[in-house]
């Protein structure tokens, strides 16, 4: 079976950047790279659910965090996964300051645009990792 890149967004609920992370993860795993990626719910890793932890063990993942506390990256590492790329929504926002997002339950237009920009960055990383894995 083809090895997939694991995409792990944070489940940030108190700030709109958490929602941007979540939306970007959906864009990558459902629209941009559905065959190459798999979405991993962070809550299952927190709980230490066997199946999810087994899938994570030694696997390469891309984490998308909404704040500097970097829960997704820390929990993936704690669960035995390898954080190939740990992205921060804030870093992407700093490069696109015109896209200041707002809204947590429902992102505004800027939030959706920022999620799209972020998703494209993740897609670039997924493509590179997939190529690397196919040559390994």
């Amino acid at each position: 079976m083809k090895e997939k890149v694991l995409i792990v967004p944070c489940s940030g609920i108190g700030k709109c950047y958490g929602t941007v992370a979540r939306q970007a993860a959906y864009l990558v795993t459902q629209d941009l790279c559905p065959e190459e990626t798999r979405l991993v719910p962070l809550a299952l890793l927190v709980l230490g659910e066997d199946e999810t932890c087994a899938a994570m063990s030694g696997a390469k993942g891309i984490t998308i965090d909404g704040c500097k506390l970097a829960c997704a990256a820390k929990v993936v590492a704690e669960s035995g996964g390898v954080v190939a790329h740990g992205l921060q929504v804030l870093d992407v926002f700093r490069r696109h300051r015109d896209l200041k997002p707002s809204g947590i339950a429902e992102l505004d237009e800027n939030g959706h645009k920022l999620a799209q920009v972020l998703a494209q960055e993740v897609k670039g990383l997924v493509d590179a990792m997939t190529q690397e894995m196919s040559h390994a």
Binding site: I13, Q23, P41, A43, V46, L47, A70, A72, K74
Partner: protein, 240 residues
Amino acid sequence: MPELPKKKVGIIACSGEEIPEGTVTRLAALKVLESLRPRQTVTICLPLFLAGGEGDRAFARFYPTIAVDGCEKRCAARGTEMYSGKPAVSIVVGDSAPADSSALGSARQLSARGMQVVRDVAGQIARHVDRLLDLQWDRRSGFPLQPPEPQEELKPRQAACSCGSGIPVQTLQVAGREVTLVALPLIFTRFREAGKLPNDSTMTELMQTVRIYNPIPEEEETAYAQAIMQEYSAFHRRSQ
């Protein structure tokens, strides 16, 4: 004077990204935090119990907590209990949702039915908040009043997030073992600044305040009181 955080109810949603029920937990929690009970509730991201510090892990020992889960794995309830404290209430969306998950829409976009379940679950959470805060008790008769239907604030507020705020904790020796009490440093400072001397009347008041934020076993009350009073006396001397 440092203020103790007002007693609120903590809401922890699993936010499960893979299933529509996970999105229901997230949106229902946000509806309560932003519109239904914004002044009475606070939240924290579940993964922070693992990724954060001791102050973050004190969350469920400081606030009575409602865990909202999308499925029977109950990651929010079990994760909170494992790392922080046992939730006062555990809600599973599946109990109020149609058996066919797809009727809720997708995790990315809920259907109209899914949004109805969000409102139902948010209403459940709000009623538990009222009960946990004793908002609807008739103090004269001692009987609970009929809780009103959750009222929505006209202008939603932003959800109060506790991520990284860190609730101060202090560890004491009680009856020969270590016990961590949340908010104790803040309580001591408040009492000291109010000019309260370490004596018997202060001890009663101190215990009442500590008990708001920490469960104290009845059979160990005296041992707790002694340890807390000893620590407060030392704190008082140091700050003179």
